[in-house]
């Protein structure tokens, strides 16, 4: 098992950026190809993961773009993803002549299960080489939230490896909740878990319309918890968010069983997963309608964020 050793800022890639492996998702959103298309990183191994469902909107266009750009596009279900990703990491490691493997992952359009599997695969990768992984995130242009009623398919740990471990089941549960702009979604999850101690993270970004919508969608939850339990985090400063999140989780897990509920931007989900690799007793959950969700188009904005992580085998 390898551990996360370092997190640093990293500028966005360009065509000179040489990676051993880059991974993108072929989703139905236009922004699925935005980073690859705009910044044209230059990996030896080009992988694009397509999904078995949701093949509408910009999906076909994205699929064509990636294949024309030399990416190996493979349709991989959630069930198949863990082993597929492990195999991809093995290929990247074995073909790298350096003592480290450089990887770039665009997290914008992966579902939360696959995001968790990506992180899990990285930490379980058996090669002795250091893994240096850049994570990229494309913030979507603002569009109002869907008013479609959804039926949840999954309410539970995002991935079996992130179910956490509560040594003492009698400790009270605390929840750290990243807020999104789906009406009362966070509130429902908190109620489902019967949590008393709730800490909310509100996303702030250069696109200000989101913030008001998030506050409106979570008005009941926000009015129900103490102001000191409400924390703003800046999407454009992911490392600061990671540090704050980790600090809070360390503190809460002294006397609570801790569950992270990362709604909202996928970047926050990624940050929660990274914290969970450092604090494996905590649990990261997702609430998902899965294939029941009607796809909706999300166009890329001009804002892209990135940071770099380094992973080494534990002694």
């Amino acid at each position: 098992m390898r551990s996360l050793r370092q997190v640093v800022d990293r500028s966005l890639p360009n065509k000179e950026s040489a990676y051993d492996l880059c991974l993108f998702a072929i989703g139905y959103e236009r922004r699925a190809r935005h980073i690859a298309e705009t910044f044209t990183p230059n990996p030896r191994l080009r992988l694009a993961c397509a999904f078995p469902d949701g093949k509408s909107l910009s999906y076909d266009e994205n699929y064509r773009w990636f294949t024309n750009a030399g990416y190996k596009a493979s349709e991989i279900s959630d069930k198949e993803f863990d082993s597929w990703w492990a195999s991809a990491l093995n290929s990247a490691s074995s073909s790298s002549n350096e003592n480290k493997v450089t990887i770039g992952v665009d997290v914008s359009c992966f579902n939360r299960y696959k995001l968790a599997a990506i992180i899990d695969g990285i930490r379980k990768h058996s090669s002795p080489k250091e893994l240096v992984v850049d994570f990229w995130y494309s913030l979507a242009q603002y569009s109002p939230p869907s008013e479609e009623a959804t039926i949840n398919h999954h309410v539970g740990p995002v991935h079996n490896s992130f179910a956490g471990w509560f040594a003492d089941a009698e400790l009270p549960i605390a929840a750290v909740v990243g807020l999104g702009y789906e009406q009362d979604k966070a509130l429902g999850a908190v109620e489902h878990l019967q949590v008393d101690n709730v800490w909310a993270f509100l996303p702030q970004s250069p696109i200000h319309e989101y913030e008001q919508q998030v506050r409106t969608a979570n008005a009941t939850l926000l009015s129900s918890i103490s102001q000191i339990h409400c924390m703003n985090y800046a999407l454009h400063f992911p490392i600061e968010t990671l540090v704050s999140l980790k600090s809070l989780c360390v503190s809460l897990s002294q006397e609570n069983n801790l569950v992270l509920l990362p709604f909202g931007p996928k970047l926050f989900t990624l940050e929660c997963l990274l914290v969970a690799t450092l604090l494996p007793e905590l649990s990261v959950w997702r609430v998902s309608a899965g294939a029941n969700l009607t796809p909706s188009e999300r166009l890329p904005s001009e804002h892209v964020f990135s940071f770099c992580t380094t992973w080494r085998q534990q002694p």
């Binding site: 008013e147 009623a149 959804t150 039926i151 949840n152 398919h153 999954h154 309410v155 539970g156 740990p157 079996n160 490896s161 179910a163 956490g164 471990w165 509560f166 040594a167 003492d168 089941a169 009698e170 009270p172 549960i173 009406q183 009362d184 979604k185 509130l187 429902g188 999850a189 908190v190 109620e191 489902h192 878990l193 019967q194 949590v195 008393d196 101690n197 709730v198 009941t220 009015s223 129900s224 918890i225 103490s226 102001q227 000191i228 339990h229 069983n257 569950v259 649990s283 959950w285 609430v287 029941n292």
Partner: protein, 623 residues
């Protein structure tokens, strides 16, 4: 900086130590039943108080509990309660052990070992409490045991051998630590087995005797040993299992059968949601299985009629005021009378409830002016709304009194046009002040301690001790927030995807359709004296739809209305009658009453005929 307490800190017994639960505990009839020396099955939806009741059987809670009846219960409870915690997150972790990569049989074996360890830890915790020195400040003593160090050593040595565990020292504390270590070892074992694969697995697992411990046997050995070493040869122990609807089937099967165990040192107190009580038909239906009234006592934790939880709510009210050092004002003094308590109003002002300036008379007159169908109804009954006080006593009792609550609501909502306003905002419905007042507010909480304390706790924090009044607006807002939280929960519950007329329908949509149907019949449709306010599930029903209804019932969205003579213990939802929780009534402008019944088929399929047998069973409702 806002230091106001979180509504989520209001009350959840799951997150409280037993001594904390005891601080606010108010005993109810169900607690008396649970405290008996017999097996019990506590059945109720979320928040109905199951965890609280179980935790109050623990010796640490009973010892510190201060209440006028506390000593009575300390005398009656002649067993040591061992609370075995459970919750949805812990349950999911148990499911995920081995990262989901173990074969089913190994996963179950590992899961059993984990569960057994969990139970044994709870037992040792209880033993530690009983053998610890009582704090000097404690005024009562409850089930403290006197065991010398020598005997403790012998006890721990015996248990270590029986449980295949190796504490670092022969003490109960060290035994508990060893069990924590055992938990971690089981988790590591699962991970190791994933890596090693299936080859050689049976031999590897066979070499670990703790994997084959049976939790009932392991507990029985320990309780008998403790009794011997503490010279309490006839002492009983109660295993208090919470949230059994989250437990794997094999646990519940074994527990239900264990009530017929020959070991009479053990009692089993099982808490579960209404659905789980019949989702394990094998155990319940077996000839050898237990039968209600014989081996265990079923204790339902819900109320059919709105007045039933009043006394309990009032006792909880008093307790909450006392805890906050607020003046002991009555609920009516602080919250006011409810809108529908027209008799009380009349009594208070010393006049007939039907006098022309009384609320009910005004409502009759106003509704008759607005609603021609109501006018027509009164005409057929020869009742003049302008002269209500001249209605003959018999007719007044039979007709006027019966329809008065409905008239009040119908007139209120037709007059205030809230329905139109609510339809304009799709996201939430404002709660009308008509639902304020002690009687209504208590009914709305359904006697559900979590809802009650959650709602009232926040209101009390804003209460000025000099002016002990909570305005109708504040009450309405509190109900609104509680209802919103509840609806958010209903939306979150994962389900299969039932369909009605080929269209997927979620739990909250089912609830909404039912609510809107009853709203239409009570407020909008032509006036009838007894519009439907309950529904009956068809005898045959699509399994996905049934699953969604089950979950709604477990969450507390529906309340079971047993037919006359039917047992309270719900074995199947099919063919049964339910009402919406009164917590949801304000969202759909419903009076807090039972009403006649409609077929769920009619409601979901939109048939005009409301009768209980109406409507064909169409797609999505046929099993």
């Amino acid at each position: 900086m806002d230091q106001s307490p979180s509504i989520f800190e209001s009350f959840n017994a799951r997150n409280l130590a037993p001594t904390q639960v005891a601080k606010t505990f108010v005993p109810q009839e169900q607690y008396s039943k649970l405290a008996k020396r017999c097996h019990s099955m506590l059945i109720g939806p979320r928040g109905s108080g199951k965890t609280t009741l179980l935790k109050m059987l623990q010796p640490q809670a009973l010892e510190v509990w201060e209440h006028t009846r506390a000593q009575e219960f300390r005398s009656r409870v002649d067993f040591s309660g061992v609370f075995i915690a459970s919750d949805v997150s812990w349950g999911r972790q148990r499911e995920a052990i081995g990262d989901g990569k173990l074969d089913e049989s190994t996963h179950e074996q590992v899961s059993r070992a984990l569960f057994t360890t969990h139970v044994l830890k709870a037992l040792v915790n209880c033993m530690i409490f009983r053998t610890s020195a009582q704090p000097a400040s404690a005024s009562n003593q409850f089930r403290r045991a006197n065991i010398s160090l020598d005997r403790e050593t012998q006890l721990v040595t015996a248990l270590s051998a029986a449980w295949h565990v190796k504490p670092d020292l022969p003490s109960l504390f060290a035994l508990r630590i060893a069990l924590y270590r055992r938990q971690s070892e089981i988790r590591e074992l699962a991970g190791r087995e994933v890596t090693l694969g299936i080859e050689g697995r049976p031999d590897r697992l066979a070499s670990l005797p703790f994997l084959f411990l049976h939790f009932v046997d392991a507990v029985s050995i320990a309780t008998n040993a403790f009794n011997d070493f503490s010279n309490e040869s006839d002492a009983k122990w109660a295993l208090l299992f919470d949230e059994l609807e989250l437990a794997p089937k094999w646990i519940v099967d074994q527990l239900i059968l264990a009530v017929r165990s020959v070991d009479d040192t053990l009692l089993f107190k099982l808490a579960m949601s209404p659905v789980s009580s019949y989702e394990y038909p094998e155990a319940l239906k077996q000839v050898a299985g237990p039968a209600p009234g014989q081996d265990y006592e079923p204790i339902p934790l819900w109320y059919v009629e709105k007045h039933e939880p009043y006394l309990f709510c009032e006792a909880l009210w008093n307790r909450m005021l006392a805890e906050r050092e607020l003046p002991p004002n009555s609920p009516n003094e602080v919250l006011g009378e409810s809108y529908s308590e027209f008799s009380k109003e009349a009594k208070r002002i010393g006049q007939s409830a039907y006098q022309s300036n009384a609320r009910i008379a005004r409502s009759f007159r106003d509704l008759a002016k607005r609603d021609s169908t109501f006018r027509q109804y009164l005409h057929t009954k020869a009742i003049d709304p302008e002269r209500l006080d001249q209605v003959l006593p018999k007719k007044g009792d039979e007709i006027v009194r019966k329809i008065a609550p409905l008239v009040l609501f119908r007139e209120y909502f037709r007059g205030h046009e809230l329905k139109a306003a609510a339809q304009a905002t799709k996201r939430s419905r404002k709660v009308a002040e008509i639902y304020g007042g002690a009687e209504s507010l208590f009914a709305i909480t359904e006697g559900n301690p979590r809802w009650f304390i959650g709602m009232l706790g926040v209101l009390f924090e804003k209460l000025d001790p000099e002016n002990m009044k909570i305005s109708p607006q504040q009450q309405a807002r509190a109900v609104e927030v509680t209802a919103e939280r509840f609806v958010a929960l209903l939306r979150t519950i994962p389900t299969a995807i039932p369909k009605v007329r080929g269209q997927p329908i979620s739990i909250d949509s089912i609830v909404r359709r039912i609510g809107e149907f009853f709203e239409d019949r009570a407020i909008v449709a032509p006036f009838v004296a007894e519009p439907p306010a309950t529904f009956r599930v068809p005898p045959i029903i699509d399994k996905d739809l049934r699953s969604s209804l089950d979950k709604a019932l477990n969450a507390g969205a529906f309340v079971y209305i047993p037919d006359e003579g039917a047992e309270l213990f719900l074995r199947s939802i099919s063919g049964k009658r339910f009402r919406l929780s009164y917590l949801l009534a304000p969202l759909y402008h419903l009076p807090l009453r039972l009403g006649t019944e409609a077929s769920l088929s009619s409601i979901l399929l939109g048939n005009a005929n409301d009768g209980p047998k109406s409507g064909d069973l169409l797609d999505g409702l046929r099993g």
